[in-house]
């Protein structure tokens, strides 16, 4: 088996990529996608730690399952918000959505 830190590195890299997407993408949907990446990175971490550290207790997988549920909720609300913004402002670019500035 590959050592644990390899999984952790993959997870860290995926997280950084996702975070970069959140910080740098213009399209709100792309940001949503990047957030999913970050959540997945967390999931990999959870499952890897579970597998290597304490596989007799199922908590790691249970938490990952919770992350799925939360991700589903987040995606549903996020998509709804984006559609709502799109309908009202004809854009999904985050930089155009700045009316709360003042």
């Amino acid at each position: 088996m590959v050592p644990l830190w390899m999984y952790l590195v993959v997870s860290a890299a995926l997280f950084c990529i996702g975070a970069f997407g959140v910080l740098a993408r213009r399209n709100a949907i792309a940001i949503l996608l990047s957030i999913e990446l970050m959540l997945n990175a967390a999931n990999i971490n959870l499952v890897a730690f579970w597998r290597y550290m304490n596989p007799t207790v199922i908590n790691g997988q249970v938490f990952a399952a919770f992350v799925f549920a939360v991700a589903a909720a987040e995606a549903a609300v996020g998509v709804a918000l984006i559609l709502s913004i799109y309908r009202n402002r004809q854009t999904v670019m985050v930089e155009d959505v700045n009316i709360l500035k003042w």
């Binding site: 910080l23 890897a48 596989p55 399952a65 998509v79």
Partner: protein, 183 residues
Amino acid sequence: MELTWQAIAFFIFSALTLGGGFAVVTQRNIFHAALFLMLSLFGTAGLFVLLIAPFLAAVQVLVYIGAIAILVLFAIMLTRRLMGLTISLNQQWPAAALAMLVLFGVLLLVLTPVGDDILGQNWSANLPTDGDTAPEVTYITVREIGVAFSTQNGFVLPFEIVSLLLTSALIGAIVVAREDEAI
């Protein structure tokens, strides 16, 4: 570490995950980005299989790829008019990339044995360095997860709360996305 078939599979799936993820944040075409997201998620599912979490892998495919990603695709198709973007990244992307590189470097130092010498402090000392010492998984995970979800000492309350969260998210999504009706 010897190059077993498992290791090869790990590298393939990692490459899928990271490559897909990278394409997600760089692809100009948002539809393609979403497809790459699916690829990345698929790689993650493969990693789950390697970690002996087949249930999570199947749920990953079913829920993430089969439902969440499809939902995003749906949103993309509904906002189709905005496809012709030439610039997909904003002006601050170099700063963001730098920050994330720093973050990745920090994480590398903390998580891997590499950093032990540089930092002078062994952050990953408690982590097993050798994968072969990992204990075996001897039980059926689905049953265990189910038991954990439904026993009092397990996760009943979080489970119910997550159910509530999902319900409220669904209702919220409907309310937010619904067209205003003339009243």
